[in-house]
């Protein structure tokens, strides 16, 4: 991997060709994941949907909550 850049810092950087570590670890990980989809598994999609709903519901609740309760305003007035 060797990418040239136009910069006023170090001009280039170079990694040696990949050794056996990457080849070995890739092969073992693919073997360990045999039978599973590496991406797009249903659990991940359910999690993503849950987070999206959580986010949208929080935002909608925030907008629907209206003004700050009066007791908070009294605290603020007391501070000032």
């Amino acid at each position: 991997m060797d990418i040239p850049v136009r910069s006023n810092g170090p001009q280039r950087i170079a990694f040696d060709a990949e050794g056996d570590f990457l080849k070995t670890v890739r092969a073992r990980v693919h073997e360990a994941l045999q039978g599973c989809a590496p991406r797009g598994n249903p659990r991940q999609l359910r999690k993503a949907a849950f987070i999206a709903v959580w986010f949208l519901a929080s935002f909608a609740l925030m907008l629907a909550a209206g003004p700050i309760p009066a007791r908070c305003c009294r605290v603020r007035a007391a501070i000032w």
């Binding site: 910069s7 990694f15 040696d16 050794g19 570590f21 994941l33 991406r39 991940q44 935002f59």
Partner: protein, 269 residues
């Protein structure tokens, strides 16, 4: 996350719009610079704080870094606000990420996406709350959102790279050359934390398995706990380090200790 590129592209555009951060700049800073050149001074943009912090022993010491382990929390808290409202725009107009790196030129479509996603973010998450809510309430909500986002990056993944356990490698030569390849390099400046905690894996999106995230970014983070022992065994066989903090608190404590150490004037040889 999804099996095909088109679905992932849509999710990427939606996520960057919701977070207010530029997808193009993030891709270059994170995927290209950070994931390839992790903790290498002048290359990894995660180490660049425009001179506010000294995150690596390879950076020159300045008197203003005294006490950085205390004021760092304030800077982390406002870093998303700065990114969304200031830094992205400065980088968009100057085409420069930091003093060392230029941004590859953006196409017309990429520029349009940048401007549109920022406008949609401002309309929905800034203008709308200020229209519907009292100003103080809207401001508190915006700050809560942005401060949470700001703290989540350094404390969710930054502690995995900027701590006492990991390395900040440097090499000589012209050009500097890394022996052993990219994957072997990744094992030196990266650490996992709290890998036994399913809650941390869930909330951080697998970033507590930072080593597996760096070696296998295209594999769903739901598999990281399963492949962790495989990666560890292989690293041991090849004589490579496999850094790990038992807890998140341990990782944060190590990060703060490193910042305190870097805040002190280095002894002259």
């Amino acid at each position: 996350m999804l099996p095909g590129p088109r679905g992932n592209l849509v999710i990427g555009i939606l996520a960057s719009t919701v977070l207010g951060a530029s997808r193009y700049l993030w891709n270059f800073k994170h995927q290209v610079l950070h994931h390839r050149f992790t903790n290498i001074q002048g290359w990894d943009d995660d180490l660049e704080t425009r001179g506010f912090l000294r995150l690596s022993p390879r950076q020159a010491w300045k008197p203003r870094y005294r006490g950085q382990h205390v004021f760092v929390f304030v800077l982390y808290a406002i870093n998303a606000i700065e990114m969304v409202f200031v830094k992205d725009w400065v980088q968009f107009f100057t085409l420069r990420i930091n003093p060392y790196q230029r941004i590859p030129a953006m196409t017309g479509a990429q520029k349009l996406e940048f401007v549109l996603s920022k406008l949609v973010y401002l309309a929905i998450f800034v203008a709308l709350p200020f229209l519907l809510l009292p100003p103080l309430h809207a401001l508190l909500c915006l700050l809560t959102y942005q401060v949470t986002l700001g703290l989540s990056r350094p404390f969710g993944s930054g502690v995995a790279h900027e701590g006492g356990a990991v390395a900040f490698p440097a090499r000589g030569g012209a050009p500097p050359r890394w022996e052993g390849g990219w994957a072997a390099h990744q094992m030196h400046p990266t650490a996992n934390f709290a890998t036994g905690s399913r809650a941390w894996t869930w909330f951080s999106g697998g970033l507590n398995h930072q080593i597996e995230h760096h070696l296998f970014p295209a594999i769903s983070h739901g598999h990281y706990a399963a492949i962790g022992p495989v990666v560890r065994r292989t690293a041991d066989e090849f004589g490579l380090p496999y850094h790990q903090y038992a807890t998140w608190r341990g990782a944060v404590a190590s990060h703060v200790r490193l910042l305190r150490q870097l805040a002190m004037r280095p002894e002259r040889p």
